[in-house]
Amino acid sequence: MSHPIYIALIPIIPLACFFVLGLFGRKYFTNSAGIIGTLGLLSSTLLSLVTAYEYFFVSGKINGVYQKIEVVKYTWLEFSKGISIDMGILIDPITVMMLVVVSFVSLMVHLFSLGYMKGETRFATYYAFLALFTFSMLGLVLSSNIFQIYLFWELVGVSSFLLIGFYFEKPSAVAASKKAFIVTRFADLGFLIGILILSFYSHTLDFGVLIERLTSTGSPFLIAINAASFLGVSALTWGLLLVFIGGAGKSAMFPLHIWLPDAMEGPTPVSALIHAATMVVAGVFLVARLFPVFAISNPEALQVVMYTGAFSAFFAAVIACTQTDIKRVLAYSTMSQIGYMMFALGVSKYHGEEGLGYMGSMFHLFTHAFFKSLLFLGAGAVIHMVHSNEMKDMGGLRKLMPITHLSFLIACLAIAGIPPFSGFFSKEEILMASFESNKLVYAVALLTSGLTAFYMFRLYYSIFWSKEADTHQAHHGEGTWTMKIPLILLAILAVVAGFAPISSWITADGNPINSSVPISFSVLPVSLAIAGILLATRLFKTSNELPQRIAIQLGSFYTAASRKFYIDEVYIFVTKKVLFNLIGRPAAWFDKNIVDGLMNLLAKLTASLSELIKGYQSGKVQDYALYFFGGIAGLIIAFIYLWK
């Protein structure tokens, strides 16, 4: 069952678009750039759909188990025997799912941007960047080699940098892009060292071989890597944790999440693509990719993943309740939802039914991609109309933009986990899995889902209800059809995606599992969600001063939450004060004064020495004769005393 090469085209088409638009866009395709990009992406979306069909229904399954299939493999850079970066394509359930998600959402964003970014001076450049990002993200999910994934990892990072900083004249945008890049870069450092460790012991960089060598019981590599330890922790744990740090950085897990809210400086469609659906789940994808190693050989590391995810989920939800910038609210909700996926992986095991968490996580990743990007696009439409991100500038927009309103509502219901919307199903699986393995996490998850419902509807009401819309906004309409179509499509998906038989497709070990959740179980979370919704309705449906009063009641906690618990301040302190003032400045000073000063000092010493002895050349011929005589005497003395 050889897979045809068209899979390779899926990333290559966007790359081609990037080069075309990037090199000639500004001159030749100033207006047609959008169309070109969209068409290009349309084709790769179709290709990926075909791939999915091929894989899931035709060729992927061998005697009931979905296989890892390596389509292409091409040695790109050989470090030493066996250790080489290969450019390869690895097809397995999660890859295929990611292919579909990435290409589809990206297509939607392309489409939406046609209207949203209309009239931008750097329209073509924008599409070039989008194409670049799509290429790198697709390459990332297709990677068959851990170093290859790192490579695309970096590319994704830089294209996100470029897109966040797209409005490069806005200092805040520049700062945000820098922050995003540097924080993720810092996390990538962990990833890199993790790769170094894993590759050193497993003598390979290829995913298949790596996983095989580090999971099969009694393989010499596994023994070696477990034997080696540093600070009492085995090398394997170190490796996996460091890799996870990389993932946490991209997926904005606490405490590496600070870049995500600021990243909203970028154009809203970009946020929808990168910071909701695709790049931010790369971390989850990475952990899922290495899941066998985590689950089989090193559950300790998996514990860390679980707790990090759970905490981030809750933490972000709390902050989200207090934010007033709608995109920031969405950003924190994204963080919280990714937290869900993470701890779902954390609670999961490898084999059979125990792999429910894994499956749930992937399921949630799938559904979340749709409704979250829908939310962002909706927010984009709103911002496009109101020209502001602040809730206070909004309200009562439901009449002005019915489609947006409806789709937004659907998305909110989905994320809140109300049946029969997609979010409900995936969330149920996750809750189920955590309930079975870890009650604490389960409790946190429940609480978080309640909070989620609350803040999402807080958002919903304060955009579309609360006060009456001021009429002066009426004149510009809801936006072009190119902006509406994606909303509608995504809304449909947000409804139906939940019925996709993910459980029979994407599981940890490839065997389909039965994932039916008893109604009795789902009562509690759903009712919590409804409670959250009702609370939000009470507070925000019509504008009243209750929220303020509650805020005052909560007092310092509320302010702390609204200030994002001062994490940013901590980072600012560390970078500005510690890095710059305590290391950078002294280093520069040391170099300027000590090291360089030493060199100059030598020169000065020589000069002053020559000043010192100039007196011997006194100009008196008698002194010369004297020194002459002294020289002879000196030679005699030196000879007597020094010569052995």
């Binding site: 004249e169 540097i182 090291v595």
Partner: protein, 500 residues
């Protein structure tokens, strides 16, 4: 093919420049000559592949030996292996670009281009020689042109910088001299005479205590050329004061002379001492990497930023050499190539900006991307490549070095590797800081708005260098296949460090 042409062409070019009439002729001749050399270099590469394909497995190809100062056993002995070919290619790329960016040099253009060509002559000679004496000769040939280029056409406190650079480099070569005398007088050929011939020397074993005595001189001497801590201070001042082309040559070519020498002379001929001192080398290299990176963070002058980052990047070269594993040494050579290209590109971009805005202060620049998109893009590309972005050369070489370094299982070496890896974050910080302030952000100075974008020659130069960077970055395998046989011999001589 005849390698002596690599000396004759620059020589003829120089003479032609001397007899040329007006500056137009001069620069045309210079460009023609440099392009010819570029062609030669490519031809050499192809010829090399042909030879290897034909199964010629000798260590050096296209050898030519001619006795010179027979009583002293000096020879004019030339030949190339993959490493030197890589270096020659690098040189020819940068020479072309350097001549292009200084196309509009009007003041004393004759002398300027003459010195540039002389400098390239020195570099070529250095890379093709297989006799330490001629190597040393060409190494020093390259010094005086630098001095004059900086001192006459430079900016800022140019005399000081030129003098400092010349003196420190001369100090380096003084140390080298002591070191190579040590090698020479402890070498005994079959006839009992002494020799400077690298190939002969590599066959005989110099007693280890002698090696331990003279390795520091040789390595430190060459190290000064490649900005080893704490003898790197000539780099910032020199690069900052130099005219654009000279900065490109300095950072792109002449800092590589040092690394090449460290590898070819010090490490290759005194392997035992290399083992004995490798920890010291690692220490110095790591300091240079980290501390150079942090020092860069605080710089306010674009050229200083790039100069300090060069210190940091050349630290990688020394790190790779000091790690003594096959991969790391290969990585070191790749890093030389890639750093040469990207730092030259960076200096070119800075020069273009400076020639328009007449300032290099980060604080005074801003929003250039709106005014001069091409130059800004070049700047960003240089920056991204120097912070090791995949697709550019920096990523490949640095990753190779990291991989190779990690193969050295000793704890200290691991620590050094991690610190070195950590520097890529700091690199990101200062690169983005520089780019964010100058390229992005609001336009600081209204007078900039009517500035022009790059002219054809500048575009040409940038394209040459960028293409080099991309070739290495996208298709590294050809480079690695080119280098590996050379490094293999070195590593065999070194004896295997524990690695798999």
């Amino acid at each position: 093919m005849n390698l002596t042409l690599f000396l004759l062409f620059p020589l003829f070019t120089a003479v032609a420049i001397l007899i040329a009439q007006n500056s137009k002729q001069i620069r045309t001749i210079a460009l023609g000559g440099s392009l010819l050399q570029l062609g030669m270099a490519v031809k050499l590469l192809l010829a090399y592949y042909k030879e290897r394909a034909a199964g010629n497995t000798s260590q050096m190809l296209f050898e030519y030996i001619q006795n010179w100062f027979t009583p002293l056993g000096l020879q004019y002995h030339i030949g190339v292996d993959g490493i030197s070919i890589a270096m020659i290619l690098l040189t020819s790329f940068i020479v072309v670009a350097g001549i292009l960016v200084s196309w509009n040099m009007e003041t004393l253009s004759k002398e300027f281009f003459f010195l540039l060509v002389l400098l390239s002559l020195g570099a070529y000679g250095f890379f093709i020689s297989l006799d330490i004496f001629t190597m040393f000769f060409f190494l020093e040939v390259a010094v005086i042109p630098k001095f004059l280029l900086i001192g006459i056409w430079g900016s800022g406190k140019k005399e000081y910088s030129a003098m400092k650079l010349a003196l420190m480099l001369m100090g380096g070569s003084a140390l080298i001299m002591v070191g190579i005398f040590g090698i020479y007088f402890n070498s005994h050929t079959s006839t009992g005479a002494h020799t400077f011939d690298i190939l002969l020397l590599s066959k005989m074993n110099i007693p280890i205590e002698i090696q331990k005595l003279f390795f520091p001189f040789a390595f430190l001497g060459f190290g000064i050329f490649t900005a080893i801590f704490p003898f790197h201070t000539w780099v910032p001042d020199g690069h900052a004061s130099a005219p654009t082309a000279a900065s490109m040559f300095l950072a792109g070519i002449s800092m590589k002379l040092g690394g090449y020498g460290c590898l070819r002379v010090a490490t290759f001929l005194m392997p035992d001492a290399a083992h004995a001192y490798s920890l010291v080398i690692i220490l110095l290299a790591t300091i240079a990497i980290i501390y150079g990176a942090f020092a860069t963070m605080m710089q306010t002058d674009l050229k200083y930023i790039n100069a300090y980052s060069s210190v940091s990047h050349c630290g990688f070269v020394l790190l790779g050499i000091g790690m003594l594993t096959h991969t790391s040494i290969t990585g070191a050579v790749m890093q030389m190539v890639s750093h040469g290209l990207m730092t030259a590109l960076f200096f070119a971009a800075i020069g273009m900006i400076y020639s328009r805005t007449h300032t290099r202060m980060v604080a005074q620049l801003g929003g250039l991307l709106k005014i001069m998109p091409f130059i800004s893009t070049v700047f960003v590309i240089a920056g991204l490549s120097s912070l090791g972005l995949p697709g550019f050369s920096g990523f490949v070489s640095e990753m190779t070095i990291f991989m190779g370094s990690w193969q050295n299982p000793d704890k200290m070496y691991r620590l050094a590797t991690i610190l070195a890896c950590a520097s890529i974050v700091v690199t990101a910080v200062y690169i983005l800081r520089a780019a964010g302030k100058t390229i992005m952000g609001p336009i600081t100075n209204q007078s900039y708005e009517k500035l022009s974008d790059a002219s054809w020659n500048e575009k040409f130069a940038a394209v040459v260098l960028i293409s080099g960077i991309l070739i290495v970055g996208i298709a590294p395998f050809w480079l690695i296949n080119l280098i590996e046989p050379g490094t293999e011999i070195i590593i065999n001589k070194l004896g295997a460090v524990i690695s798999h």
